[in-house]
């Protein structure tokens, strides 16, 4: 209780900085500085790609996403950050494809240049792509599979987050409290991805805490992050009837992630590893029969080089060649009432290029070689006798464009 009181006093004293208190400073200078801030800003990003699946001999072309940012500065201390996303170009009633979603909508409260608080629908700092997911900021047309199916990027939830940085050491930190996941919605083959609420009618009986430490030192950036959250938002009597542990952190999902990035003189390298633990997976399976695993893990390593690095910097052109190896297993261990699926044990080798004619426009081409484990016939109900046999190897060709502004 004493710790809680001390924390409350400290946070209140920090919050008092939002008020426009009188100072010894020149007020007209403050007004001049305030004019430097734009009131409302608009930006966005998008990408489209052609994809050829060599196993199915099927090609598709899709405007994968278009996102609009709108930001507004109410004053020096408080601003609004929003992003709205349209996937697959259109949403038509009854059709499976297409989605319109609010990707972010939060208020940002600045305590000082080093510390701020966000409240609303935001993207917690977990992994690399969750915050840094613009198509001009990653290699390849597709987001890597580890940060799609293990860490379900882009993962946004409702809550509050605190972001800060030390003054004299290049360490940034973040912590947040958001709504928890919905284990009833976990789907076999997509990890925890379908358990996200993404701002809509989230249960708040269960919550989650997130945190990260990020070191930015010259050419290196290193991060560790974590998540601990409850995944049952039912009322206690409902949860009891399903023999699930309810409550704020009941039936937890636990995530750990670490990554290191290096970039210098046109060369870049990235390595990331992550693991998810769901200790009560057997309870979830008993309640919902969704084959939830006890553990998942994934990791990738990527290197890239800009072969235009030595050319005239004013050109802004960049031609980066990259290669990335990804490995993930969405059911590395399963409870006794689960069924193993080795097709979720995957390795991907992606190689290609990103060409920037100017900084925020990119043309991408890449090939993904995919290998999975064998199909488990126990998971096929009423097999179609005409269906081709499952192929553990596949080759995917992607050619696309991306932009941000």
């Amino acid at each position: 209780m004493k710790k809680l009181f001390i924390a409350f006093i400290l946070v209140c004293s920090a919050c008092s900085s939002f008020a426009q208190s009188s100072t010894n400073s020149d007020d007209s200078s403050q007004k001049n500085l305030s004019k430097i801030l734009s009131k409302t800003s608009i930006g966005g990003y998008g990408n489209a790609l052609y994809q050829r699946d060599f196993n199915s001999k099927k090609s598709t072309i899709n405007l994968e996403r278009f996102v609009l940012f709108v930001g507004h500065n109410f004053n020096n201390k408080i601003s609004l950050i929003t992003e709205i996303e349209i996937e697959d170009a259109k949403v038509a009633g009854g059709e499976a494809e297409g989605e319109i979603a609010i990707e972010q909508a939060y208020l940002k409260f600045n305590f000082n240049p080093n510390n701020y608080l966000v409240a609303g629908l935001y993207l917690p700092r977990i992994g690399i792509l969750n915050e840094n997911h613009l198509p001009t900021n990653f290699y390849g047309n597709e987001r890597n599979r580890v940060e799609t199916f293990i860490l379900p990027t882009t993962w946004r939830e409702l809550g509050i987050g605190f972001y800060g940085a030390l003054n004299n050491f290049p360490l940034s930190y973040s912590a947040g409290i958001v709504n928890g996941l919905n284990s009833a919605a976990f789907e076999h083959g997509s990890g925890i991805r379908e358990g996200r609420f993404e701002g809509r009618d989230a249960t708040a009986n269960n919550l989650a805490v997130t945190g990260s430490l990020q070191l930015n030192k010259n050419n290196f950036k290193a991060q560790v992050s974590g998540y601990y959250g409850g995944s049952v938002g039912l009322a206690p009597n409902q949860a009891d009837s399903l023999k699930l542990t309810s409550g704020i952190l009941g039936t937890p999902v636990i995530i750990g992630e670490a990554d290191v990035q290096y970039a210098a003189k046109g060369f870049s390298a990235t390595i990331l590893a992550t693991t998810i633990s769901i200790p009560d997976a057997s309870d979830i399976n008993r309640a919902y029969a969704n084959n939830t695993p006890e553990n998942e893990f994934g990791g990738y390593a990527e290197v890239a080089y800009n072969i235009f690095q030595s050319m005239n910097k004013k050109w802004q052109q960049e031609l980066s060649l990259f290669v990335r190896y990804e490995m993930l297993n969405m059911n590395s261990s399963i409870p006794s009432n689960g069924i193993i699926d080795e097709t979720l044990n995957q390795q991907h080798l992606v190689a290609g290029l990103n060409y920037f004619p100017i900084r925020n426009v990119v043309v991408k081409a890449d090939v993904r070689l995919m290998h999975t484990g064998e199909e488990n016939p126990d998971l096929i109900i009423n097999p179609n006798p005409a269906a081709p046999p499952y192929q553990q190897q596949n080759t995917i060709l992607n050619v696309g464009i991306g932009f941000s502004f």
Partner: protein, 140 residues
């Protein structure tokens, strides 16, 4: 027990965050990259002696939510940059060899030019001049 565990975890987080806030604001106790300044007649005065051993100082202006990075360049020149991302006005992080924005991933070089988007404009530069033993940063 779940409620107690959550309150305990959250309170520990609050204490840690508050301590972090306190540590980052009480900078006078540590040898500092940060120099605290106030504005007078649209100008900020920074002692030139600060740059005797360090080429970079971050000037923290009272009641203003963006720092100013001041770098000593060859030829006794100084470059003062507003650490505000030119894309969506987010505060920038000093990485040692430039600045980065966590909001959408923009990266700026030491001289304020854009290294990686979506920002398109370089960082705002302030005019500086040396008067006696002070570096004067003009904000207008």
């Amino acid at each position: 027990m779940e409620r107690r565990a959550f309150i305990k975890t959250s309170c520990s987080l609050c204490v840690a965050l508050s301590a972090g806030l306190a540590i980052s604001t009480f900078s006078s106790c540590a040898p500092s990259l940060i120099f605290n300044a106030i504005i007078s007649e649209n100008k900020i005065a920074v002692p030139l002696s600060l740059f005797a051993k360090s080429e970079l100082k971050i000037v923290r202006v009272k009641n203003y939510d963006y720092d100013i990075a001041v770098r000593k360049e060859p030829g006794e020149k100084f470059l003062a940059l507003l650490m505000r991302c030119t894309h969506a006005d987010n505060q920038l992080t000093n990485t040692g060899n430039g600045f980065s924005c966590s909001l959408h991933g923009s990266v700026f070089e030491k001289d304020g030019t854009v290294k990686k988007g979506p920002a398109e404009k370089p960082l705002k530069k302030f005019f500086t001049e040396k008067i006696a033993d002070q570096l004067i940063i003009h904000l207008s």
